[in-house]
């Protein structure tokens, strides 16, 4: 018998089992069939720990602010709203357990979505099975929609797959003498990031921009040095990265270490995290970094100025420091409020019908959903300029010209 190895295996297996069992919590909820003006609970599985915890916390801020506003206006169709959050530890198995518990044990009246396509996919299977409407702020990858789920609604301006379309349109709109000839791609194997990169690559290659490097890396990667090495070795004009915030920061630091400065750098997420991102990479190093976005703090969209001022009053900080995740979560509440008014009901079946048929005004702008819950709008290209993120493309939404080539990192 080989005790040491078997003991270690026991440890690993036990830890995994405990991880699955951990993090659930429950408390008495409200009736699944709310009566007129009866208080209701809205259940959400959020990532308060694990890889998505930063985004999860921002979602909570957005949801809480919406609930506060909604209750101040008299509630959702008169029902006082209480939010109930359960931590999913960024786990695809825990998120399933959480929604099952929220619906069957806590008997919440409504459910809102978690962070990321990765968690939305298994979560939406559960909520659909129970007939719940599932408006969600952060699951917009193609794999979210290709299962034919009718009760899911992605509350962002555009399907995630199209997020980098505005970037590719800008690149291809440049005069031939300035247009980048090569691009290097590196992306997490995540349903949020990889579809964006793949679509951008397809569009740029069709436009004549040669692919100098294309690499996919596991989402659990912590050592980004070899990945950055490959991007640098490709020596491409444009670098397009499928990142969440930690790897977005890690890539930029690796580029600084190697004194590497592409002409343009766009990351799928990370630079949209406002002051948090600037603190991590250094304010001077944000200059010129691009990110697709459906929302920014100065956007002239319905209720956005109020949202920004209320957010700062409640949580502190500056407009530039507000995470896009919070605005997306707030929009989920806005959409549900309007759907409930249209349907004159908060029953899930009525909400599903109403969400498929209306056009909704949110802090992210106007949006409507197709039969699979895909929004019909487009994302914008945002760039860090002088310490703020500003829309730079398409010209109809731009408030500044894109900085190109991007200034060098400060080193």
């Amino acid at each position: 018998m080989r005790k040491p190895v078997s003991l270690a295996v026991t440890g690993i297996v036990s830890m995994g089992a405990l991880t699955l069992a951990a993090c659930g919590s429950s408390s008495p909820g409200t009736s699944g069939s709310p009566q007129a003006a009866a208080p209701i609970t809205i259940g959400v599985s959020v990532s308060l720990t694990g890889d998505f915890s930063g985004d999860g916390k921002a979602l909570v801020q957005g949801y809480d602010l919406w609930a506060q506003d909604e209750n101040a206006k008299g509630g959702l169709l008169g029902h006082h709203v209480t939010m109930k959050y359960v931590d999913d530890a960024s786990s695809t198995t825990q998120v399933v357990t959480n929604y099952q518990n929220l619906i069957t044990q806590d008997k919440v009246a409504l459910v809102f979505g978690p962070f990321s396509s990765l968690l939305t996919i298994p979560a939406s299977t559960v909520t659909n099975r129970f007939g719940y409407a599932f408006p969600e702020p952060a699951g917009g990858g193609p794999s979210v929609f290709n299962r034919g789920i009718h009760s899911l609604f992605f509350v962002q301006p555009a399907p995630v797959e199209n997020n980098l379309v505005s970037f590719t349109q800008w690149v291809l709109s440049l005069p031939a003498s300035q247009r980048p000839a090569t691009a290097a791609y590196s992306t997490e194997d995540d349903p949020f990031t990889q579809p964006q990169i793949d679509k951008a690559r397809t569009l740029l290659e069709a436009g004549g921009v040669r692919t100098a490097s294309y690499k996919v890396y596991p989402a659990e990667t912590t050592d980004f040095t070899p990945l950055a090495q490959q991007v640098i070795a490709a020596n491409a004009d444009v670098v397009i990265l499928g990142t969440q915030e930690p790897d977005a920061v890690a890539f930029i630091k690796a580029f600084q270490q190697q004194h590497y400065n592409p002409k343009a750098l766009v990351e799928t997420a990370g630079p949209d995290q406002g002051a948090d991102f600037a603190t991590k990479v250094g304010a001077a190093n944000t200059e010129g970094v691009m990110v697709p976005a459906g929302w920014w703090s100065s956007a002239k969209t319905p209720n956005n100025a109020t949202f920004v001022s209320e957010f700062i009053a409640k949580y502190g900080g500056t407009p530039g420091g507000i995470s896009g995740d919070a605005a997306e979560a707030y929009s989920v509440g806005e959409v549900v409020d309007q759907a409930a008014k249209n349907a004159h009901s908060i029953a899930n079946a009525a909400l599903i019908t109403a969400l498929h048929s209306g056009t909704f005004q949110t802090v992210q702008g106007s949006m409507a959903f197709d039969s699979l819950g895909r929004p019909n709008g487009a994302s914008f290209l945002v760039q860090w300029q002088n310490g703020l993120t500003v829309p730079v493309y398409p010209p109809s939404a731009a408030v500044a010209q894109p900085e190109f080539p991007k200034p060098a990192f400060s080193g």
Binding site: G11, I12, D223, Q229, V249, K253
Partner: protein, 291 residues
């Protein structure tokens, strides 16, 4: 070719950091025969302690070790006395549960105190670098590797050149026999646990300077550390070092030569081959038990 050379060099440098973190884990196993699945959380705790000193008093992360390593040593001694020592029966299995609970407690506390946003330790040498062989090496990797070498050398010195080290090694070889010859194994265990936890503080600083982290970052970390000490041989310091450096080199070279997707697979393939040939790991001691 430059890419491969660069990958090897970074593999060695970052492998040194993992070696330091894994050394504490394997030392604790060697002395007490327990798997401390809370070790990753203790690494993150060490990183947060340095982060708190950086944020509140602008203390350089490496300098902060003067405070955090003794503090973490004391914490380790207390944890061993309070949580591990009372486990008298079925200690090995129960210790997994106890140390996992410890990890969850640390994670919850850190999440409460620091929120769950990712943070990172910063200093001038974090992005500053120097050129060598046609690429650049950041000073943080070199300083971190130097610190790891210094601490690991210190641990080896204590283990092989001091009376206490003899007691530790005797306990690692046979806990019961060590007791019979007069070694105070409870005291040795508490101090060894303290040393293991204090190395987590040092590892945490370098990890926190080269990675964004939050209170939940320990899950990925502990799984990597456990595989390292299984490869090196449970309870073997030398094995932890070879295992860590080997893992990082294999992963980094695979990532640049083949694909990042295959990086972990390549390492685990090697791990399986090693365990088939040497079930006790590279430097582990094969233990026979009466059935």
């Amino acid at each position: 070719m430059t890419l491969i050379l660069e990958a090897v060099i970074f593999g060695i440098l970052t492998g040194g950091v993992y070696a330091l973190m894994a050394s504490g884990l394997t030392l604790i196993f060697g002395v007490m025969g327990i798997i401390n699945v809370g070790h990753g959380a203790l690494v993150i705790l060490g990183a947060y302690l340095s982060f708190a000193l950086l944020r509140s008093a602008n203390v350089d992360p490496f300098v902060s070790l003067v405070v955090t390593m003794p503090a973490m040593f004391a914490l380790g001694v207390v944890l061993q006395i309070v949580f591990i020592r009372p486990l008298k029966e079925d200690r090995e299995a129960l210790s997994v549960l106890v140390t996992y609970a410890l990890a969850l407690g640390i994670e919850g506390l850190l999440g409460y105190l620091f929120t769950n946003n990712f943070v990172q330790l910063t200093a001038w040498y974090e992005t500053a670098s120097f050129a060598v062989f046609g690429f650049h090496i950041a000073y943080v990797y070199v300083f971190g590797f130097g610190l790891c070498l210094a601490i690991l050398t210190g641990i080896f010195f204590v283990l092989y050149r001091t009376t206490f080290g003899s007691a530790v090694r005797a306990t690692m070889l046979n806990r019961t026999a060590a007791q019979l010859v007069g070694v105070n194994v409870d005291r040795v265990s508490a101090i060894a646990f303290g040393i293991g936890v204090s190395t987590a503080a040092a590892g945490g600083v370098i990890f926190g300077m080269t990675n964004a982290f939050n209170s939940g970052s320990h899950y990925d970390l502990i799984s990597r550390l456990l595989t390292i000490i299984v490869l090196g041989g449970l309870g073997s310091l030398r094995g932890a070092i070879i295992g860590a450096v080997g893992m990082l080199i294999i992963e980094d070279v695979t990532a640049v030569v083949i694909s990042p997707v295959w990086a972990s697979f390549a390492f685990f393939l090697l791990l399986v081959i090693v365990l088939v040939v040497r079930p006790q790991g590279l430097y582990g001691i094969r233990v026979r038990e009466r059935i």
